[in-house]
């Protein structure tokens, strides 16, 4: 009774304020469970909803009528029918305030449904339809109804051509941010029109498009452009960069990664005049970091991000970068040749250099050893992301030196074969916030290491222990303590049996992505457990596992959120079993990988059906 009266003192206004302080989803969930009033407050103030299952869709939309963001990206069964039901049932209050719509991977959706949805939401400002590979010009035309659109992401909408882009450019002339990555059909013409119609563009991603420098001429006319990402535009050359040099006065970020015909000198002259530049990406672009470019980096006081993967660097260059670019937050030196301990030391230890460094990528920098981590660990205390994949010089001691970087969120130690359980113990003790760790082929680690990791890093979301052969079922039990775990990659763990995986399936409720390739001992019992308990599984790889027809069928039928399955060489499963399994999951499954030999054995009817439902089959 007492507590009730206390709660009564809290007015709605106060409750809202308290709720605002709650950050994590788990906390909010606890809040919801307190009482109906709390639930009501939460539902009124909630701005974002991410739907996992279509069954909840209508109810949730009625409850959360003040949402600004609707995320349907992990709800695989959104299609035209679902949209029309969604819009014809109950009140449509939720559409009134909706500003952001995430339809990533909603391949079941067609232009009709998309058009309906877009038209129903008058205030829509941001739409994400990336990876909807079936989308074409019609869908683009449907998107163009959203006249207030400011942000559009349509990566990998493979069918969108210049015509579709033109309708978007004309319909959504207020666009500020547009990503066209992998929309291979788009050509210079479309980009030219876009640049004539959408004059407010600030962020443009044209990665991997077949554009020439002619497009950059058009892009250079965008006076408000701040960020241009053109990864892998292999037809663009220095002429294009020269156009950019003259235009785009507000350019803050440029990404010319993998542009094979862009030379270092062209980038130098583009960069040299712009002291306001914040971000330079030139990965896999040049063979070496030329001296003029390093010289002009000296003037970029505000530079926050520099990624120059796979170039040859010298200690001197790193020193210049370290001493002159004082605002650097992220340095990408992956696969760079010539990165030494000395270089790293000078990069981080020059007078008050890189005090804010958050992210450091050192993949395949062989010459880096624990010595440089002593400096790193003592100076870059704000470090959040560290990629040390294939740095064979890394050992347990290096991890110990890093112990003061307690804010570390991501740590990649793939192929660092010198890491042992001791190293994992340091990690477990020192990085409580760690969300992602990659231990791919760290063959020396075992169950004890996982125990330390699981007891220390409770926030772990992503874990990769592939080919760490010493891990047994006991290790799996430790992993199952990680309540937040959502991605687990454990390829080739031959010692794991059904027992181990069942523990993970039962306890890791949020598990969404599971890779069991070559886990040959898991067998039917393990998969059975997965089928029954891992309800949030979105993606599973069962290639080279021993699963029988019945269990496969069960798994595919029961996992209602499953979107992507890899079933290459599933021993013990027959063609008929596979077919039944595919049938059971048809409609929600969006991507299947099968061995090529099955392409002739599976009935064409099932293949057609899968295709019709927006499912892509990859033949291995």
């Amino acid at each position: 009774m007492f507590s009730e009266s206390v709660l009564r003192l809290l007015t709605e206004d106060l409750l809202v304020r308290v709720l605002e302080k709650l950050g994590s989803d788990a906390d909010r969930k606890s809040w919801r469970l307190v009482c109906k009033e709390f639930l009501r407050i939460e539902s009124l103030t909630r701005r974002k909803v991410r739907i996992l299952r279509i069954e909840f869709l209508l109810g949730l939309l009625q409850t959360y009528c003040n949402i600004e963001t609707l995320d349907l990206s992990v709800c695989p069964r959104i299609d035209d029918g679902a949209v029309s039901v969604m819009l014809s049932h109950g009140s449509l209050n939720w559409t009134k305030g909706l500003r952001r719509l995430v339809l990533c991977r909603a391949t079941g959706l067609g232009y009709r449904g998309l058009g309906q949805l877009i038209r129903a939401c008058p205030l829509l400002e941001a739409v994400d339809v990336s990876h909807c590979w079936v989308f074409g010009d019609r869908e683009a035309a449907a998107l163009s109804y959203a006249t207030r659109l400011k942000e559009l992401k349509m990566d990998k909408c493979l069918g969108v051509t210049d015509v579709g882009l033109a309708s978007i450019a004309v319909g959504c002339s207020n666009l500020k941010s547009l990503s066209l990555k992998w929309c291979f059909e788009i050509s210079n013409l479309g980009i030219d029109l876009l640049c004539k119609k959408c004059l407010d563009l600030e962020i443009l991603d044209i990665s991997y498009l077949k554009l020439t420098s002619e497009s950059l001429k058009s892009i250079a006319s965008l006076s408000k452009l701040e960020m241009l990402v053109m990864v892998g535009c292999s037809f663009v050359d220095d002429v294009g960069l020269r156009f950019l040099e003259k235009g785009c006065p507000h350019l803050k970020a440029i990404d010319v990664s993998r542009c094979d015909f862009v030379s270092s000198s062209a980038l130098t002259s583009l960069v040299s005049g712009r002291s306001s530049l914040l971000q330079i990406d030139a990965r896999y672009c040049f063979l070496e970091l030329s001296f003029p470019l390093v010289e002009c980096l000296k003037n970029l006081q505000n530079l926050t991000v520099i990624r120059i993967d796979a170039v040859q660097v010298s200690d001197l260059a790193l020193q210049i970068i370290g001493t002159s670019c004082k605002s650097l937050l992220e340095i990408g030196l992956s696969k760079c040749i010539g990165v030494t301990n000395m270089g790293i030391m000078q990069l981080v230890s020059g007078c008050e250099s890189c005090p804010h460094l958050i992210c450091l990528m050192l993949e395949s920098c062989d010459m880096v050893t624990e010595k440089s981590f002593y400096d790193l660990g003592s100076r870059c205390l704000l470090l959040e992301e560290l990629d040390l994949t294939e740095c064979s010089g890394i050992n347990d001691r290096a991890l110990k030196y890093l112990s003061r970087c307690s804010g570390l969120l991501t740590l990649k130690l793939g192929l660092c074969t010198n890491i042992s359980d001791v190293g994992l113990a340091y990690i477990g003790c020192n990085f409580p916030k760690l969300a992602e760790i990659d231990l791919y082929r760290c063959v020396c680690i075992g169950d004890d290491g996982l125990a330390a990791l699981a007891s220390g890093c409770k926030e772990l979301i992503k874990l990769n222990v592939s080919y760490c052969n010493r891990i047994t079922d006991r290790g799996m039990e430790y992993i199952s303590y990680l309540g937040e775990l959502s991605e687990l990659e454990m390829r080739g763990l031959v010692n794991i049996t059904g027992m181990g995986i069942s523990k993970v399936a039962v306890n890791c409720r949020r598990l969404a992505d599971l890779d069991l390739k070559h886990c040959e001992k898991i067998g039917d019992p393990g998969c059975w457990a997965i089928a029954f308990y891992a309800h949030n599984l979105r993606q599973i790889n069962l290639s080279y596992c021993a699963v029988s027809d019945v269990v496969l069928y069960l798994l595919m039928g029961k996992l209602k959120r499953l979107q992507e399955v890899k079933l290459v060489n599933v021993s013990e499963a027959t063609v008929r079993g596979l077919e039944l399994g595919l049938r059971a999951s048809c409609g929600r499954i969006k991507k299947v990988k099968l061995q090529t030999s099955l392409s002739l054995l599976l009935s064409s009817e099932i293949l057609d059906m899968l295709h019709l439902r927006g499912c892509k089959i990859r033949w291995d």
Binding site: K36, S144, S167, L193, L554, M609
Partner: protein
């Protein structure tokens, strides 16, 4: 017949970008000014069609080294002409002013031409004589036509038309002496060929044709209009020869529609072309193999001034029929044929691609088929383009225009979705009408029913097997398992769990909304 000879010439010209080309085009614009230029007019007639097509396919007419001169000239000319369109023919100071500027342009043109000639003389050394003389003729012809325009326009500046005409005639005569040009020097005021009023009007109509033509080139949307335009040209609407100054011929219908016009006098075989007949005649004996017999028959007639021939359409009541009160004669036999077929015959040629467009002239069909079935780039305003960049240029130019996506090419998944929608709609309507006892009211559970119905309906329509197998699976073997979807982190638990069951569960009677919680763990 005369057109044949010229056709050959005209056909050859687009391939050889040279001076004659330019001049041909140029005189093309002005061909109607002077009936004495009719010889050219005919040639131009055929060329004009060629131009037409060339423009349609956007391959610009070839121009030689002289385009620097050509382009401004043409533009000037057009500007001058357009300024006159729609003006009254009465004496008017504003017209005077415009005429003056027109004169300026023309003088400019002449200067350009003369420069051209001067330049050409230097280069002609290596070229065969024939071409040189041909070019010379064309240049001088063009020069003449411009000068005639000049004179006539200058004449119109005078307050009295009569006076102008009489004033101009001597100078015309002077220019008429230029060799190789069939310019009748003895034309008096009565022949009115240079009479300013007519002249202006001619130009006006000519110009309007030109404008239409350019439109046509840009947007080849309606071929029918094109034909009508062609008709106009064929008929030479703006010619306005005074009655009696030409001879009117009227071919009979059978004659017009006859497939062959040239018949062998020996065996009776018919030919479309005189040249082919002559080739055929060689087989009848050696006397037909002499160069004289094989030569073009009407070469010699060039020198002597002929009475101009004009044609009448045999169809009574037609504007082209000589009995019509506003009779407008047709210029050539080819014009008669095309006019008659287009306006008075059935359109028996059907496009084999679209199966909708019909034509009565084979050439029209072929022109159409060239473009039909190609990617049509369509704008939301209804304009079509043969090329994507043209469409995009158009869209960039106009506010609010977007590319339209043709509806016929529908993708398979889309069709599927379509079907689903109709199914769903039916279902929803039924629900609302209450004809199916699934849901009433608008509470959440009814919605759930709705959506589940939808799913089931979909299952049935899409693939009965999948639906059945799924049902079997759920009810028979694993009826008890806890399919209760655990509330995932982002989802909230609702007060009453109306959506506990998954799609197929709706159909299994034992799993109502209440029984499911029992299944929970």
């Amino acid at each position: 017949m005369p057109p044949q000879n010229h056709q050959v010439q005209a056909k050859a010209s687009p391939n050889s970008p040279s001076l004659p080309d330019f001049i041909m085009q140029h005189s093309n614009q002005q061909r109607c000014e002077d009936p004495s230029m009719s010889d050219y007019g005919i040639r131009m007639e055929t060329l004009f069609k060629e131009c037409n097509q060339a423009c349609g396919t956007k391959s610009l007419l070839p121009c030689g080294s002289n385009d620097g001169i050509k382009i401004p000239n043409q533009e000037n000319c057009q500007m001058g002409d357009t300024s006159q369109t729609g003006k009254l023919q009465d004496w008017d100071p504003s017209i005077m002013l415009e005429n003056l500027s027109f004169l300026e342009d023309k003088i400019h043109q002449i200067r350009g031409l003369l420069h051209l000639i001067a330049n050409k003389k230097g280069q002609q050394l290596g070229q065969p004589d024939e071409i040189i003389t041909q070019e010379k003729q064309l240049i001088t012809a063009n020069l003449t036509s411009i000068i005639v325009q000049l004179i006539s326009t200058a004449g119109s500046l005078l307050p009295s038309v009569k006076l102008a005409a009489s004033n101009t005639s001597p100078s015309v005569g002077q220019h008429g002496q230029i060799p190789g040009i069939t310019f009748p020097s003895g034309l008096g005021p009565s022949s009115s060929s240079i009479q300013p009023q007519h002249d202006i009007r001619d130009k006006i109509s000519d110009q309007s044709n030109q404008i239409d033509l350019t439109n046509m080139c840009e947007m080849e949307q309606n071929h029918m209009e094109e034909h009508e335009l062609k008709d106009e040209e064929d008929g030479d609407e703006g010619e306005n020869l005074p009655p009696g100054s030409f001879e009117i011929l009227q071919l009979e219908k059978e004659e017009i529609l006859a497939p062959h016009t040239h018949f062998c006098t020996i065996c009776g075989k018919g030919f479309k072309r005189d040249a082919n007949l002559r080739m055929h005649m060689r087989g009848h004996g050696d006397e037909y193999k002499t160069p004289e017999a094989l030569a073009k028959p009407n070469k010699e007639s060039e020198s002597e001034p002929k009475l101009i021939k004009r044609y009448s359409c045999p169809y009574p009541g037609c504007k082209r029929n000589k009995d019509h009160k506003k009779f407008q004669p047709l210029k050539t036999i080819l014009c008669v044929k095309n006019h008659y077929k287009r306006t008075h015959c059935d359109k028996s040629y059907i496009c084999s691609r679209c199966h909708t467009k019909k034509f009565s002239v084979m050439a029209d069909l072929k022109t159409h088929e060239k473009h039909c079935g190609k990617d049509k780039w369509l704008c939301s305003c209804g304009t079509t383009f043969s090329r994507k960049d043209k469409l995009f240029g158009h869209i960039a130019l106009f506010q609010g225009h977007t590319p339209a996506i043709p509806l016929d090419e529908s993708k398979a998944p889309v069709g599927q979705a379509d079907m689903e929608i109709t199914e769903n709609n039916n279902n929803n309507n039924n629900n609302k009408g209450g004809s199916i006892n699934l849901s009433f009211g608008s509470n959440a559970s009814s919605c759930e029913n709705g959506i589940q119905n939808m799913m089931n309906v979909k299952g049935i329509t899409d693939d009965p097997i999948s639906y059945l197998s799924s049902l079997n699976f759920e009810t028979c073997n694993f009826g008890e398992f806890n399919d209760f979807p655990r509330p995932p982190f982002e989802d909230t638990t609702k007060g009453s769990f109306p959506f506990l069951m998954s799609e197929s569960f709706n159909y299994s009677p034992k799993c109502g909304g209440e029984s499911c919680p029992n299944n929970l763990l």
